[in-house]
C-alpha cells in the first residue's frame, strides 16, 4: 500500500489552477460529488474547460461553476435544464461544444484506453459532422471522433476503501469510471470510507489504481 491518498478539502483546492480542463462525473448531478464542486467554487479558479454529461442545474452541480463565471468552455451533451448555459452561450461569455452523449462517453474512453479515436455513425449528415473526417470501413461511413483528455477528473463513488477502490450504487455510475481513466489526476469523492479489504473486489466500479486523491465528502 503506497502513501495515503486521503486528502482534505483544502488540499484538494490547492490542486486547482486557472485554465485547467476538468472532467466532472455525474448525470444531471446524480453521481456528481457536490461538496467537491463547492470547493472549486470557493477556490475561485477561472477559465476552466469542463467536460460533463450536461450543464447541471443553475444552482446545482457544475451549474454553480457556470453561474460563478469560472467556466470558459463547456463540453457536454445536453444543457437544456440549465438556462444559464444558453444565456452565457448566446452572449459569447462561454463557449459550448455539444457532443452526442454516446460519442462523449466513447471519446473519454478512447483517451483512457490509449486509442487514437473512435468511428461512429452517430452525427453523420448533421452539424456534428462539420470539420470531421469521414472514414469508410467495410462499406459503411463513419465519423472519426478524437479522444478527450483532462488535467483533472472529479468523480464520485458511493463508498470506497482507502486505496480508492469504489462502488457506485445504481445510476450514479454513468461517466465516473470512464473519467477515472482519462485524466492526468483523479480526485475521488466518497460518502463512506472503508478500511482496506472491506470493499468486495468483485463489485468495484472505480479502480483505486487510477485514483490519486480521496476526499471523504457529505451528501449536500
Amino acid at each position: 500500500m503506497p502513501k495515503s491518498k486521503l486528502t482534505t478539502l483544502d488540499e484538494f483546492k490547492a490542486l486547482l489552477k486557472d485554465g485547467m480542463t476538468i472532467m466532472v462525473g455525474g448525470f444531471m448531478t446524480d453521481g456528481t460529488p457536490e461538496q467537491l464542486i463547492n470547493a472549486v467554487v470557493e477556490s475561485g479558479v477561472k477559465n476552466l474547460t469542463l467536460i460533463n454529461n450536461d450543464g447541471g442545474y443553475p444552482e446545482r452541480g457544475i451549474g454553480k461553476l457556470i453561474a460563478n463565471g469560472q467556466v470558459k468552455k463547456l463540453i457536454a451533451s445536453h444543457v437544456g435544464l440549465n438556462p444559464t448555459v444558453a444565456k452565457l452561450m448566446n452572449s459569447g461569455e462561454m463557449e459550448v461544444d455539444l457532443v452526442p452523449q454516446g460519442t462523449l462517453a466513447e471519446r473519454i474512453r478512447a483517451k483512457g484506453a490509449g486509442l487514437g479515436g473512435i468511428l461512429t455513425q452517430t452525427g453523420l449528415g448533421t452539424l456534428v459532422q462539420e470539420g470531421k473526417q469521414v472514414i469508410e470501413s467495410e462499406g459503411k461511413k463513419y465519423l472519426l471522433e478524437v479522444p478527450l483528455a483532462a488535467d483533472l477528473a472529479i468523480i464520485e463513488a458511493t463508498y470506497a476503501d482507502k486505496f480508492g477502490n469504489g462502488v457506485n450504487i445504481g445510476t450514479t455510475r454513468n461517466f465516473n469510471p470512464l473519467m477515472a481513466l482519462a485524466a492526468d489526476k483523479v480526485v475521488l469523492g466518497t460518502y463512506k470510507l472503508h478500511e482496506l479489504g472491506e470493499v468486495d473486489p468483485s463489485i468495484v466500479t472505480i479502480y483505486g489504481v487510477l485514483v490519486d486523491h480521496i476526499v471523504q465528502i457529505e451528501e449536500m
Binding site: S77, M89, Q121, T126, G170, N174, T205
Partner: protein, 217 residues
C-alpha cells in the same frame, strides 16, 4: 383523451412483448402506461439502467434516476451500468425500439429535435445515438404546431438530429410509415378523415390499400 394520451395509447401497440425499449423524456414516457395486457417491455434509460420502473414518489433518490434526472424505481430484472455500456446497447443495435418527440420530421425520415438556432439550444443528449442505433425509431408529435402548421414536412428546416432515421410517425390524427419512396398513411384516428389528415400534412402522403382507424377513447 387528449392528444398526448391518444398518441401514447396508439404507440403502445407498436411495442412487442419482451422488447428492449428507450422512451424519451416527456410524452414518450407516457407510452409505458398504455401497454396492452400481456405485453411487457424492458425499458432502457440512457443514463445507465435497464428494467426501469415508474417515476418514484417521495424525496429525490439520486441513486436511481432517469435520463431527465428524476427519481425512478428499478424492477427486479433491472441492472445498472456506465455510459459506455449504455450507448453500446444503443448504437450496437440491441435496443429494439426508441420513441422520441420532435420539432420537425420530414418525408425522408429526417428528424430535427435538438435545437432552434439562436433561440433554444438544449443539445442532443442521447438522441443522435438513439436514432442512429435503434432498430426501430418511432417519432411522436402533435400533427400540427400551436399555430396550426404541419410538423410533418417536405424537408426539415432545423439542424438535423438524424438523417433518414425515422421508421414510423404517430400523431393524434395518423400513423404514417416512412418508406424509401416517401410517407405512407397507414391509419387515421376515429375522429378524423383521410382528407383532413392530407390537408394538415405538408409532406405528400401515399395511401395504404386499406386505411385502418385507431381509437381516441
Amino acid at each position: 383523451m387528449d392528444a398526448k394520451q391518444i398518441i401514447s395509447k396508439r404507440v403502445a401497440l407498436e411495442l412487442k412483448d419482451g422488447e428492449l425499449v428507450n422512451l424519451g423524456i416527456g410524452l414518450p414516457t407516457m407510452v409505458a402506461d398504455y401497454l396492452p395486457e400481456g405485453v411487457e417491455v424492458i425499458l432502457q434509460s440512457e443514463n445507465g439502467m435497464i428494467g426501469m420502473g415508474h417515476i418514484a414518489s417521495g424525496p429525490h433518490n439520486r441513486n436511481f434516476t432517469n435520463a431527465g434526472g428524476t427519481s425512478v424505481t428499478i424492477l427486479p430484472h433491472g441492472a445498472c451500468f456506465d455510459s459506455v455500456f449504455s450507448f453500446s446497447l444503443i448504437r450496437g443495435g440491441h435496443v429494439d425500439s426508441t420513441v422520441l418527440g420532435t420539432l420537425e420530421v420530414d418525408q425522408h425520415g429526417n428528424i430535427a429535435n435538438y435545437m432552434i438556432p439562436g433561440k433554444m439550444v438544449p443539445g442532443m443528449g442521447g438522441a443522435m445515438d438513439l436514432v442512429t442505433g435503434s432498430r426501430k425509431v418511432i417519432v411522436v408529435t402533435t400533427h400540427t404546431d400551436k399555430a396550426g402548421n404541419s410538423k410533418i414536412l417536405k424537408q426539415c428546416s432545423l439542424p438535423l438530429t438524424g438523417v433518414a432515421c425515422c421508421d414510423l410517425i404517430v400523431t393524434e390524427l395518423a400513423v404514417i410509415e416512412v418508406t424509401p419512396s416517401g410517407l405512407k398513411l397507414l391509419e387515421i384516428a376515429d375522429n378524423t378523415t383521410v382528407e383532413e389528415v392530407i390537408a394538415k400534412t405538408e409532406a405528400p402522403l401515399t395511401l395504404a390499400d386499406t386505411i385502418k382507424t385507431f381509437t381516441t377513447n
